[in-house]
Symmetry: none
Subunit: 149 residues, 2 copies
DNA sequence: AATATAAAGGTCAGTTAAGGTCAATAACTT
DNA sequence: AAGTTATTGACCTTAACTGACCTTTATATT
């Protein structure tokens, strides 16, 4: 069994015993497992992605922590589906279309839609290459959806 | 819970029980909390900034005090204030503080706040320089606010 | 009135305590 | 052999906290 798997097990156990919220101190946790602290980041980055329904929050400095939250999506599987449909790149017109379709299906409200359109507007990315713009838009779009519910 | 959080709680309690005005004697207050007097300044400086809608007044010498006043914004004034306050660069922690401030003043709803937090999360900007990240966040943040109403 | 002293609050650099990133390497898989 | 996944450590950023020293103000003394 990989160290990575051990970490995954430990986090999952925390998640299920703590109502979907695992709160850890990175150093202490790494020490208990017996690995480098940075491996905790590797595991979180590779196994607890947004598209899998997880949210990760953290704070540095004194009293710092990492929090992993498992989302209950229920009937909003549509969200997961859309998050998966959006790959690593998203252009403005497709992003607009997605927002409009979410709106017309009443998954999001008009005010939410407006914010999303603002966030993904190409105006925000002036000066960047198109490839970078689309990559960022994809990350931002998925992040908004994942955080939204 | 950090000492800083204890101080924040104590100040917030004073603010809400005293009609938006917290009046303290620094030494006495620090003594009650159990910290160095200068930590009070640290907390005020980092949590009760003018940009977040607070005014801080103080007097030294005998009978000295520190007064923290929570500004009351009318309607869209807070919105205007925030758009003005955000320059060409915005780091994650300040952006979070601004969103929370909009939320607590009921200028935006919780679901709007979540979308904004998702859109401005540093996770979206991995691989970029800090300077570019903050520049983009500023553009996105202002764009969301501008579209929002 | 001028001066000295005491009683506040302010500042800032330095310390400690976290978590984040990334490139290099090792260990699997196919 | 090539490609993917795991693992690490050196270096970075952020946050909390403190104490030595500074400035301001009020009050007591001469």
């Amino acid at each position: 069994m990989n160290v990575t798997d051990v970490i995954v097990c430990a986090i999952n156990e925390l998640l299920s015993s703590c109502d979907g919220e695992a709160l850890i101190n990175r150093n202490e946790f790494a020490n208990k497992i017996g690995c480098a602290p940075s491996q905790i980041n590797y595991v979180i980055g590779s196994r607890y992605k947004q598209e899998l329904g997880y949210l990760v929050q953290s704070k540095r400095g004194g009293g710092g922590y990492i929090k992993i939250i498992k989302r209950q999506f229920k009937e909003n599987d549509l969200l997961i589906h859309i998050i998966n449909v959006v790959g690593e790149s998203l252009d403005e017109s497709f992003s607009k279309a997605l927002v409009n379709s979410l709106l017309s299906e009443n998954v999001i409200s008009i005010s939410q839609a407006k914010i999303m359109l603002g966030a993904t507007s190409s105006q925000n990315f002036k000066g960047l290459s198109l490839a970078l713009e689309c990559k960022l838009r994809s990350a931002i779009f998925k992040s908004m959806l994942a955080n939204c519910f």
